[in-house]
Every structure is written in structure tokens, then in C-alpha cells.
Symmetry: D2
């Protein structure tokens, strides 16, 4: 850490801070500049007390961390790409996966028709929410256990693997009986208890970025999972909240590239949540491939106008089919192998 | 809802949308304007399917909701102020409460000395985190059950009521044995399963606004609690995430005034999280009183420089004491009675 | 416009608002819903008074505009792509242009070496700032007229067209003697006097999106130029300001796709400002092509570490060269013809 | 500056960077930590080249500035409050000023009736826009020179001083004939040419914070004016752009307190733009006083529903009158003397 002192801080005041730095476990190293003194505090920032609390000294202006706060998710700790194996579907390391399906599981007919349609066009994993986190308590909350049963039926019918969201620590065990990948949504992106419980299940976890989560915080949330001994994390960029109103969220495609640089984990893009508009989903899929994503999570519904949740951002079978056709040259160009 | 059609939409296309509006349970009422047609969809938006999914029709440009989505939290449903009774401490309706204490419970000595200091200056409720949601898994995670035990000791010693954060549905029952108010933090602001579990405990719940939560969403999160039959909710503004870097968050004091207009629930302000800087806490407390807050949640620590979490935003006993003195004329001016 | 009245508004109060709607030039059309009344106000919203001022009536809850505020920039007013002709370089309509060069013109040697390097790799337009808008008055402000002279020398030497920023209405005439495209920067994105002055020059104008400008506002800024009779506008997405700190700005690639749908104008992407990091520039160029951009504006410098402005986001000749090679298959895939 | 090198950087690579640090005018001072090396670069950051460009070296991870970038606006350069003298009205240093009037000058009758009303309740300075920066070119652009003439008539009639916005460098001289304070709006907050021109006029300048301007950038914009030798700057907080939609902007009252700490300049709050809603203006005025503002800029109109611009945020004479009454105890409490 670097402790920046205010201009005109006396030597005695510098020493006072240096002593506190030492007390907190670092070796203080003062540097007397032309205008200001800074104290470099030498030590492992991840295992020691933060020094940001030193700003309570009146002579301290700011404290700047030096080291990155994440460890096991970082490229520095593991330089080669992690490949997450979802019951035989190997995601990452050049392999590109399509996950698709409805926002919510609404009925057996709806889900199985969708499963067949997306499988026919190359999806390997079926998405569908059984437990839905809805802004209002009066909105459709998902079919719950019945939804999970329908997901199992679709899996049996098509052989697709299943990804579904888990909202509650208490549901993790039960959901694991049906899901091949546990999805943690944006609203639970820093629900660390849920992350830990998912980690312990040993299932692969798709971890969405929170609505206002910095990339550093997103990687640290993944660190919660890895530090529990579960390395099977798929990072998922799904748009951040900004002032723009033409889109529901602002898809941050640079974050995909950064996550790939900073971390060895695969990065999935969710264009449906990412913009909240069906008409933009196909073009954002292309953008996602171009910036190096390892897969897509796409909302597909037989008749979006009557979807029980988020119809405005779901695409129908025809659009999905065309989207995949148009995507192939981009996958070739980026040397990604469609699973 | 208002369904806005694109310019030059044919009569037949208008009818197609109107039929779908009807199918989804509303009475369509087309209005032919000079440039564009809109269809007013008459019906209760809170119990019917949203029409936003109609944007998947190519002739639909946008869909605008008309009605507010929250019910029981609204002033329309209850015009007089709700007074939340925390074991005899009645918050709201002109009564102003000070809740204060350390960010984290660190030791019996730390907590009890703080409890005495804040009680002496008028606090009625002691805060202190036993379970801490930390951005990094390597940071201090709180003392857990031992922290709760220490809170109980401080309560016994001082008679202060206790507010403490609950992170997990599984902990709600246990935390309720020690807490008089359950605190739900910003990261769990839309962890609806946790909200429901807290609601069921019948304890008062202090519900923080999420980091990027719109006021409407915040009130809808409160609606999750009220709709479970628990009316004892304290809304808590604690700053939102913006581009500004001089402060950790941007305290949205207008949101306090809006929440008071839109809802009958008491509104508490957390200036410590709200700015993340100890030096601004006193002045933001004044701002909070001036805009009509019903109470404050303030982080106080015997020696902030050595706090195990968020030392930079905690104030010491002297600053707290002076803050309260300076606050009194503001409370008088706004006709708030300090509990 | 749609005027939404509060629940329980009396018939008399509805009439009061309806009269005011009429007075302001619209035909009021009340619709009595189950819970709330709305008044549809029929009329051309772009030529009449806004009704948002009606919220000052206590019975009015909100006012929702129906019509889009932009006219001549819209696809509705002109369905085919605009092709902007920069002295023979035709941008848009399937033609893709590379504009490249240093952030600031620093010296004749610096600029001419850069011009040669970028020309050799396919750039058709040379960028270089002579007038620089700098956050601090103590930072390098550009060479001014001498910078323009150097740009002219580079043009003569290489035949590249010139794009350079204009900061002041007073400079427009002078800059036009040297520039083939006038660049209006993000900080002046709503400096309407400057936009009007640039419009009057009849030169093509590259209009950057403001740091916190909604897409609607960006298009309305372009409308200022078109409504002066100058149709030669290049929209430029350069990132918006968000809470993220790993990048200087958040490049909003969805905005490129939206601008192309909403407007007939060409859209250029500036990846250098868009992320503020040289290491991400190449990959964001690919993303920009994938989402349908019509060109790129890239900062290139012989030795970025010693650049007088924004060295951290400038790439050197080698990186530029490799970037172009890697871009070609993406251009082929999107059927863009590199100019 | 602090140059942070990546873990495992070799000694030779450290030296390479140190040499470049030296070349750019600083004295390099490497500090070898446990995990990472940092180079403290000693020198005056405001007069030297920034080192952020060093991130183009692959071994450099980040560069952190140490010193504040503003000089003459800072409290360090001048500890006592600046008092800005507007033709005898002395703002700051404990004196509190009310500036009020319509958003736009619409007619002599409108302005003079407003001037009388606000004067009667204690306003000392009359606001009114003659030149209006409007998002759309089809909206009312202000009366221009005729508006200035009307402002002069109102001044003659009431003796109030005049504040009015200037949009164009070319208008500065002309506007100065009529205005006692030049207002620079949020859209021109970083239009440095306009700032310089205003500075040269020697008139007091009210400088609004830009919609997405960090406090540091706002102070640096003020530095542009002071560094031209004009110390008469009033900083004006008017809300920042965030994701919240219940308000037009998010009024950042903490920024008022920070600006007062960081700078000696008076700080004015504009609650009308700050929230964009007439109903919140009075309560935000109280909040502004509580956090230490030196004055208010309030939009007042005889009949807001028919205002030609921003009617939704203008208050009428009655509300203004009541607002002032309610404000007085807050001014007393904060020991501000109403001018």
C-alpha cells in the first residue's frame, strides 16, 4: 500500500503514521518528495489489514492499494485457460458453447419445444428459470420444483445439459439434482453465502456480473468460489446499469476482454439481459464472439409476446436459427470451435 | 399500459396488437394521433401480464406502464406515517432515532466501550456486524455467533436495542434471538429469499437500498416484506454507485424525500456507507435531518485506524459526541423529537 | 403525450388538466382506466409545447412523451444509409474507413512518420489534435495553428485526408482551411453553438457522443447539424462514463447498433478513448466491426510512452499493423469494404 | 507518481522503466516489495509529463498520481474563504445568497413580475436565461438579445443583480453588458474556450458542475478561470447523471461539503436542475443549507405549467415564498447570514 501524506506534514507526523503502518504488520518505507511525503508499506496486502483506515489520521490524504486482491482466479496464478467440463461439454480453451432456452420454464410443452429447437441449431446446454428473482412480488415467480421436473424431462428428451438459476442456499442441494450448471444471477452476485453453498456442491457455477459490480469485484466474487476448492466457474457478462435508457443494461464487451486477460476462467456473454431488447440480441452475439467470449447464454421462447417474464428480450426459434447461421463465420474468424 | 405503435402502422397491424392486448387480459383502447397510434390497455397492471413483451411485434415501438408497481408500501394505500416499534423505541412519525456502533463487532471490550459511549450521547440502538459481507474472501468475515454473543452482552450491559446484519436465510432464526432489528445490506437488497425469511420472523427489518437500485425497485423490495404480512420496515438510504471517486458512494438525499412522499415507511440514512469517509459523516447527518430522515445509522469505533473493516468511514467517540451536539438544532428546526 | 393522473382524481380535476392540454395546442382525449385516468394529448410533439410542465398540477403524476424527438437524422425520414463523402473517401453504405494518427500533433517528425505508417496499413484519414481540450489548464494544450500547419504538411506528403478537433466557434473557419473532417469532442457534444458553426462550414463533422449522453440526446445533437442543412455527419461512439475503473470509459457497442437502426448516418467507433488502454484497442476494433460500425478512429503514436497526451491509450506502429491484419477477416465477414 | 510494476518483473525491466521515469523529468526511487516492485517518481506532477503513459511498457501494471492536480482553487493555496463580490453583494464567508427567477426569459411581464416576487422574499440576484442550450433544435432557444434587454429592464425596475447563461465565446462581451454574473451551464462545463473567455471578462462566473464531471474535474475547470487571473468563481452543484429515473439528476450534496473542504470558493446549489421536480425543490434547499452551501439558484415562474422551458422544475411565487420562510431557521442554525 502507498500512504500519501498531506503537503507540509511534519516529520513527527510522518513517524506517527509509520509507526501505525508497522503496528498493522507492514514495513514502512517513507519517501520524501518535493511537495509531499508518501509511505510505501511493504507486505502482503491480501493477508494483512488494509491501511485505508489510516485516512482517519488528519495528516493522511489517501491510501492506494498496490496489489491485486484476487489470487486463484488470476492469470498470474494459472496462465493457461481453464476448461470447465459440464458433464462432457468442455467450455473454454477455444471451445465455444451455446446455452439457450426460455427466461422462465412455463410448461412442459413450452420447454420441450424450445429444447428441440435450440438443440437442432447447435445449443448444447438448455437454460430455463424455475426460481425467478422478480423485482416485484406480484410478478411470476417461477414454477419452482415443478419447473425443475420439467427441466429434467427436457434433458431426458433431448440430451441437453441443464443450466438453471438458484436463488437460495437452501435450494442448492435440490437444484443440483437437476442442474448441470448452477446459475447465480446479477442480484445475487455478491450474495456470498449463496456463492459458498454453490461452490461446495462441486457443480460448475455460472456467475453473473452484478448490475453495478466492478470487474475487480466480479473476480473477487469468483474467488469466493475458487477459494472453496471449486474451480469450475464460468464468468458471465450481462450488462451493467448506466444512465442509458434505450437499453435495459449496457453490455460491457471490454469487460469480456479484460476478464480474459486478468483471469483464466471462461467468459460467457448474456446478450438478452445485456440489452433487454430482442432486436439487438443477434448483433450483440457477434460482438461477443469478436471480443473473445467462450460462449453465449441466449433467451429463446416459442412465442415471446406471451412469455411470463421478460418477453421483450427473448427471441423466437426463427431468429435463433438465423442468429446461429450468421455467427458461424465469426466463430471461424476467431478460431473458436462451436461445441 | 400504453402501447406505442410505429408511425405508418396499418389499421390491420393495429388490430393485431389490440387482439393480443385483449388476449393478455386488458381492454384495448386505440387512439389515432396525427403521427402515431397508441393503444391504451385498460386493466390492473399489477395483477396482469406485462405488455412490454409486445415489443416483439415489429409494429410496436415501446410500451409504457402507467400504474405504480408497489401497493402496500405506498402512501396511497396508507396515508399516515408508519411508526416502527423496536421493543419500545418508536421510530417514525416525528420521532428520530440514532443507531450507532462499530462496523464489525471485534471484541467484547471494543463493543461495550462503544455501546457506552454512544448511549451516553443519545443512541437508542447499537449497531455491530457479526456476519460481514466482504468483497474479498480474504478479508475479515466477522466473528459470527461469537459476535452475536458479544452483542447480547452489550445489550445486557447498556439496555440498548440491537441491530445487526443477516446474510443468510439459514441464520435468520438464530440472529433473531439476539437482534431487535434485522439489517439487510445493500448487496442483498434484492435477495428476495432473504427478505421473505426476514419478513416471516416478524422482527423489524432495516432494508438498505442496493448500490444501483432505483427508488422504485427499493420500494418493491420492501413490498416483498410487507406482502408477507410484516409491516415493520425501515428503509435505509446508504448511497448509490456513480462515477464519482472522491466518495465511495453518492448519498442520494433526494431519495429520502421521495421515499417519504411515495411511502409511509420511516427512512433512515447511513452516512458512513453513504460517503465512505469519516470526515464527511457529521455534515451528511445534518443534510439527512434537513431532508426529513427519521433516523441515522452511524459507524462509531474506539480507534478507527485499527478497525478490522471500513476504518476509513468510522468516527471515534469524540467526533460522535460533537456530531450529536451539532445535530440538535437541526432536529429542533425540523420538529423531530430525538428518541 | 400521455398525461397520467393520480388515482382518485375527480372528474373536475381531469377537466382542468384537459383544458390546459388544449390551451397548449393538443387535443385532449381522456381514457378512464380501472385505477387511473390518463389523458392522451394528440398533436405534433416536436412543434408544440411539451406537456411535462403539467406535473406542476397536483393531480398529475407523470407525463410520457410518445413521439421521437429527432426528425431528419432518423431512419424514418430517410431509409437508405447516408454516405459521407470526405473529398472522395466515401464513408458508410458498406464502405469502411480507418482514421488513425496521434492523439496530439507534437512535431513534424512525429506526425509525418505516423502518417506514413498508418497510410501503409490502409488508413485513409489522418487524425491529430492541434487544439486539445485538457482536463487541467496545466496540461499540454496542443500546438494550435502550428499543429494545423504540420497536419497540412502531412497531407501534402501522404495524400491522407485530415480530421482534427475544433474547440471554438472562432476557430472553425481557420480549421476548415486545413481539415477535411471537423471533429467535435465529447466535452463539446452539447456545445450547440459550436455544432451550428461547424454545420455552417459545410464540412463533414464527426460528432462524438458525450460522456453521459443518452443515445437520444446524441442523435438530437446531430439533428442540430442536419437542421442547418449539413447532412455530412459521422456519429462517433467513444465510450460513456460509468462506475467501472479498469477502463477510462465503457465502450457502448450496443449503441452502435442502435444508432445504425435509428439513424441513416454512418457510425464510427473510437476504441482508444473508448477504453483508455492501449492493450484493449485491437480487440475492441474487432467488436466494433462485428456490431456494424462504418469505421474506426484509432490513436497511433511512434512512441506512446513519451506522448504529450494520453500515451496510455495510443498504440505504436507495430500494434497498428497487426491490428489491421487481424481486422480483415472480420470486415469480410461483415461484408464491409475497406476503403 | 507511483509506478506499479507487475509481479516477477526482472531487475533489468525495473531499470528500463526507471530510466524512462528519469527521462520524463522525475527522480525514480524503486521500492522492492514482497510481491511487487513500485517506483516512486519524485517531482512536481503538475508541471511534468504524466507517467500514465508508462503503462505501455508490458512490465508496468498501473500508475498512480500522488499530487492533486488543482492549485489556485485549493484550500492549500488559500485557506480563508473567498468572498465573491457581485457589485456589492458579497457571497461566501458566511453570507448566503438567494438567486431566483425563471428558467427562460419569456416576456417583460413574466420577468418583471417574477423579479418583484423574488425580491420581496429576499432574493438578491435575478436569474433568467436569454440564450438556452436545449437538447433538441426544435425547442425554444431563448429570446437572445431581446432577453438580455428584458433582464436589463428588470434590473432597472428592481435593483436586483443579474445572472444569465452565456453559451458562446462570441456572446461573452455582449452578455457582460447586461449580466453581473456569467453562468456557465452543465453542458459547457468543460468548454474550456468559453471558460477562458468568461475569465477574461473579469466578471464573476458561476460554474456549474457537468452532468458526469468528477469533483476533481469540476475544480480543474474552475482552475482554468482562476489561472487566467479571475478569482471570482462560484461553484454550482446541480446534480449528476445516474441510473435513477425518479429524478432528472441526482443532487450530490456530499459534493458541496467536499468542494468547501478542497477549495476556498463559494458553492451554490441549484435544486431545480438538481432534481428536475418542483415538488422536491423546497426540501433540497434545506439540505443544501445543512451541508454548508453559500447560496441557492432557484427557478421561479409565474405559472410553471405554461413555461416555455422546464416547467416541471419551476416553482411559483407562493411556493417560493413558503420555501424562504421555512429556510430561515436552517440558515440560523448553520450561522449563515441571508444577504
Amino acid at each position: 500500500m502507498i500512504v500519501i501524506l498531506k503537503p507540509k506534514t511534519s516529520k513527527k507526523q510522518v513517524e506517527e503514521v509509520a509507526r501505525e503502518v508497522q503496528k498493522l504488520g507492514y514495513t514502512p518505507h517513507p519517501i520524501f518528495g518535493e511537495l509531499q511525503t508518501v509511505i510505501a508499506a511493504i507486505g502482503d496486502e491480501r493477508t494483512h489489514h488494509t491501511l485505508e483506515s489510516l485516512t482517519v489520521f488528519p495528516q493522511v490524504e489517501r491510501v492506494l492499494p498496490v496489489q491485486k486482491r484476487y489470487k486463484t482466479v488470476s492469470r498470474e496464478s494459472k496462465s493457461e485457460d481453464t476448461v470447465v467440463d459440464v458433464d462432457g461439454i468442455k467450455i473454454g480453451g477455444g471451445n465455444f458453447v451455446i446455452m439457450a432456452g426460455p427466461c422462465s420454464v412455463e410448461s412442459e410443452e413450452q420447454l420441450i419445444s424450445t429444447a428441440r429447437a435450440v438443440k437442432a441449431r447447435g445449443a448444447k446446454i438448455l437454460r430455463g428459470g424455475a426460481y425467478k428473482p422478480r423485482t416485484s412480488p406480484y410478478e411470476f415467480q417461477g414454477l419452482g420444483r415443478e419447473g425443475l421436473r420439467i427441466l429434467a424431462a427436457a434433458k431426458q428428451e433431448t440430451g441437453l445439459k441443464i443450466i438453471t438459476e438458484v436463488l437460495s442456499e437452501r435450494d442448492v442441494e435440490h437444484v443440483c439434482e437437476f442442474a448441470d450448471v448452477l446459475q447465480v444471477g446479477a442480484r445475487n452476485a455478491q450474495n456470498f453465502q449463496l456463492l459458498i453453498e454453490c461452490a461446495k456442491s462441486r457443480k460448475p457455477v455460472l456467475l453473473k456480473r452484478g448490475m453495478s459490480e466492478r470487474i475487480e469485484e466480479w473476480l473477487l466474487a469468483a474467488e469466493y468460489i475458487l477459494s472453496q476448492g471449486n474451480p469450475n466457474v464460468l464468468l458471465c457478462e450481462r450488462g451493467i446499469r448506466t444512465f442509458e435508457t434505450y437499453t435495459r443494461n449496457t453490455l460491457d464487451l471490454a469487460a469480456v476482454a479484460i476478464a480474459k486477460k486478468e483471469s483464466h476462467l471462461p467468459v460467457i456473454v448474456d446478450p438478452s439481459q445485456g440489452c433487454g431488447r430482442a432486436d439487438l440480441v443477434p448483433i450483440l452475439c457477434r460482438g461477443a464472439v469478436a471480443v473473445g467470449a467462450d460462449g453465449l447464454l441466449i433467451e429463446v421462447h416459442p412465442f415471446p409476446a406471451e412469455a411470463l417474464s421478460d418477453g421483450q428480450q427473448q427471441i423466437d426459434f426463427n431468429v435463433f436459427s438465423q442468429l446461429i447461421s450468421e455467427l458461424e463465420p465469426f466463430l471461424n474468424t476467431t478460431k473458436r470451435k462451436l461445441l
